[in-house]
Structure formats: C-alpha cells, structure tokens
Symmetry: C2
C-alpha cells in the first residue's frame, strides 16, 4: 500500500465517530475525523438519562466532554463536509471536501448517522425556519409562552414535548397511532404534564401560514375542530440514513437504506467500515451507547486491517 497522509479517516463526528477516534488514538493509528457538527444529532438532545453511570446530562455537555476526550490524544476534528469519496489506484481512498481540499487515506470509518425524516405535507418546506423546526432543543427558546405542536410518538418526540413544556404555554403532541411508542419514563412524564395535550390517531395534513406558521390542519377532529392554532411545529418522526456519499461508490445498503455491516463493522467494500445509526448494526437501535460501541468495534477492525 502506498504511503498516505492518513491511515484512517473517520467521516462523522457523532458518538460513533468520536468513540472510533479514541480507540484509534489508543491503537496509535494516524487518523483524522471529519464532521460537520461534532456530536451530530446528540447536540439536539436536551437530556440524556441512559448513559451508564451518568444519571442526567444535556446533549451539548455530553458532546463537549466527548470532543475534549477525542482531542486529548491530539486528534484533529475537521469541521467540514465531505463532497465525494473516490477509490484511488492503490487500494486507498481520496476524500474531497466542500472547501475543495483533498485528503488521502488507507481506510475509512463512515459514521455520519441519520438525518431528520420529513413529514412531506404542504407548508413544511415553505415554512421551515418560520415556525417549522426539526429540533426542539435548538429552537424551543423562540416560542416562550406560545402554543406549539410536536409531531411524533418516539422517545425524541415525547422528550421534545417535555422540554418545550418548560418554555412554552401549551404543547400539542400529535401522533398517528393510539399509543405513544416512547419509553414509559417519557410517556408517564408527558401524561402528567398539565401543559401537554396528547392527540392520538391523528395526522397533520397541512401546515398553514402566510409568512409564519399559524395553524395545522388535522385529518381527525380534535375538540370538534380539524384545525388547531399553533405558532410553532416540531417534526420528530424519525430519521433516514445519510448514505448518499457511500452509495455512489457501491457500499451495499439494506431495503430501508441502512449500510449493511458485518459483525466487525466492515462493509462490502474493502477499506470501508461503518458504525452508528447509519448501519444495520445493534438491531438498528439508535442509541448513543450502541453507536459508540459500533465505533469501537470498527476501530479495532481497522487496526487489524492496517497491521496486515
């Protein structure tokens, strides 16, 4: 294998990428982390209660500590986005960044995670940033004493509703099914919260507003109306894997678009490993702990690969 600047480039700086970096550092692997947002989606989590040994920590604080841990080994985290990945002639890879730079590496751990799923209703795109948001932690503050809606029934949705209830006047939690699918812990807290009204078996058909969100059109009546007035709507209906970059170089995906990995984190392309929410690993349970573990496994595998 020809000499390259890096033995490993980790694309993605969420828990999977950061944990992979720490293991790589401890193995003495010369590597670089490239990530648009250190911490990834974790930065948008207002409260983490299930990180072993830590009863409660904000997403932002967790990310700061993780980043500091990565950097304690003098590892660089490049805050940039990758535009293209190309195989080179010597079984390595060229990575092209949005700022026109090019990086060369022998191995890649691809760990960019997922992006927010869209509701795909009229008004969603048009009113994005004008009342439509995918991140309660980021934007909740703007709705102090106002009425907002959260759409979804997962941990993210219900915990977003709870977070918002501390700030806003009233939260509608709108879910298409008859029972929230979040952890009991969140469900009970939401049900007890006087500021949260849960609307079950209901879909949002349209987000209405001229220059900003004014109301939602529902497919079911709620208190005899099919429209409810809100000034903000937080869409928390899950995530889709962000696989564009690796799809074009032939990394194999499953039916739902997740990167197929083997038990050692390897993909079908030699030299490319993957870890975290973007993979088929950990039974697709998208948790900080599972993403981190996959990062560790991938780093160990890369170490074995580089030793050959």
């Amino acid at each position: 294998m020809s000499k390259k600047k890096y033995d490993l480039i980790i694309i993605g700086a969420g828990p999977a990428g950061m944990m992979a970096s720490i293991y790589a550092s401890r193995y003495g692997i010369k590597h670089l982390v490239i990530g648009g947002i250190p911490g990834g989606l974790v930065t948008q989590t207002h409260k983490i209660g299930n990180w072993l040994g830590t009863e409660s920590i904000s997403g932002m604080e967790f990310v700061q500590k993780a980043e500091q841990h990565v950097k304690s080994y003098q590892t660089e985290i490049l805050n940039n986005l990758v535009k293209k990945i190309k195989k080179d002639k010597s079984s390595g890879f060229e990575i092209f960044l949005e700022n026109q730079e090019k990086k060369e590496t022998k191995a890649i751990i691809f760990a960019v995670g997922t992006k927010h799923r869209c509701l795909e209703v009229p008004g969603e795109k048009e009113l994005l940033g004008k009342g439509v948001s995918y991140c309660a932690t980021c934007d909740g503050f703007f709705y102090r004493n106002k009425t907002v809606a959260v759409i979804g029934g997962s941990d993210s949705a219900v915990s977003a509703a709870l977070y918002l209830a501390d700030i806003v006047q009233e939260v509608y939690l709108i879910y298409r099914k008859e029972k929230l699918r979040a952890e009991n812990f969140w469900v009970e807290a939401a049900e007890k919260n006087p500021k949260i009204k849960i609307i079950y078996q209901t879909k949002v058909k349209k987000i209405i507003g001229e220059s900003k969100v004014e109301s939602l059109e529902l497919d079911n009546q709620f208190e005899n109306l099919t429209q409810i007035k809100v000034e903000g709507v937080f869409i928390e209906i899950g995530a889709v894997p962000a696989v564009e970059l690796v799809e074009e170089i032939g990394v194999e995906l499953d039916d739902e678009g997740y990167i197929k990995i083997n038990s050692d984190g390897s993909t079908n392309i030699s030299g490319i490993w993957s870890a975290g929410d973007i993979t088929t690993g950990s039974n697709k349970f998208k948790q900080i702990i599972t993403a981190s573990a996959e990062g560790a496994v991938a780093a160990q595998s890369v170490q074995k690969f580089l030793k050959k």
Copy 2:
C-alpha cells in the same frame, strides 16, 4: 402467560446487566438484577481511558456510578449467585439462588460475562492466594517493593503491569509471542517504564514455592537462567465465558463456548436474551462500551417481547 413476580430478571451486574437494567427501568419493566459482584470484572480494572467523554476513571469509581444510576430507578440488585435456571410450565423461568431462594420471571437477560482463564501449570492452583493472583488491582497492594510477574500480552496484562509498577519494585511482563497485542497506548507506556522488563516468546512452565510463590520456571532462558525469582505472579491471559448455567437448559454456544445471539440479543431459547462479554456479539470485542450496548439492545427486545 401466568402472573409472575418479575417480568424480567437480569443475571449479571456488570456493564451489560446494569445498562440493561437502566433501559428496563425507563421502559417501566418490573425487574430484578442478580449479580455476585456489582460491576463484574470492571471492578478489577485500575484505569478506564476509553469510556466516551471520560478521559480517565478507575474501575471501582465507574462501577459505583453505574450502580447508583441503576438504583436511582429503585431497582434492586441482589448480591447473590444463581445456582440453577429452570423452565417452568407457563413459558417462564424459575431461578434458584445459592441461598435457597427461588425467583420467578417471564424473561431473562443473561449477562454474567467471563471468568479468568487459567494457565494450567503446576503450582497455579496450589499457590492461589499465596502469590498467585488473577487481579492486579485487587492484590497488587500486597507486593509493595517486591518483585512480581505478569503473564500475558493483552490490554489487561500490560495495564496490570503498569499499575503494579507504581507499587512494586520490579515487574516481569512475560508473553508467549514476540509482540504485545495490547493497544499501542499501553505498549508504549510499558516499554518506557524502567520498572518493567518485558520477556517475549516465553512461557511459564511451573510456579514454584513451598508455602508461597518463590520463583517461576520458564521454557526459555532469560538473562541466562530459566528460573526467575518473584514473590507474586499475576495471570492475565484472557477469559472464558461463564456459561454453565445456561448450557444445561440448552442455550446454544459457538465453538469457543460463547452464547450465540441474534442481532436483537435473543438466544435460541424463547424468553432468554444475552448480552456482554459472554456472547458472540460485538465481534467478541470485550469492552465496557460493547457490553453496555448489548445490554441496551437486549432490554429493548425484552420490552417488545413483553408487550405482545
């Protein structure tokens, strides 16, 4: 399914069992943790450097924090050992403890981890506790200013040698191969440490001593001798899965004796999940982070199972 006291019993209170418990608590699953030693082998780790967001923590402190986290949900950790697991007539299980108590449950997460591998040489059993130890963190203190040996080349072995070097006068690190297989981070530190002498390509044939360890017989000369004088010997040559309890009720193992799990943590026996170092999961990478992640996945699967 008939009414039982518990919906879930987690056997094993290491990282896998404790993480499973935290997830189970947050799902509202009525459960009990049974574990001889809360923290399991982690209690024997003197320093953890690869827990995301925590640059350095002792094994004992980590375990205390994890245990406190588990108990913050009012979950009981029973410090007892399981003697037998039996299927009952209603597709659940009876768990018999060494103190003669019996517990009943619908589901089990089996997460007892591994136990120390023995060297299988003369003197090892005879001198156990008289100079022979499997835990530097536990027993290192007794060898202040003495000469000891550590046997092995893994992360555990090399980090044990480093830990001991702070206490004792001299440490022989004896490994059968020509290169240590620990993380570079540990290897470099050991090589730099003036108190550590690394003896490569050498096996210990015999542990010699009357009432306590006096010397080791090697299969290769070291400084022209095949015997070296030591007062303590720490055996750190890996682990074997502790599967006796589940083997007898038919849980399927792989060739190396690890519990075969599916991606959701399930075993071949309905109602029994498994997580952590004892399983074939996480590419058999035995780390706190991988064990914890497997615990989370198993708990999620149990939650889905109980909802049915």
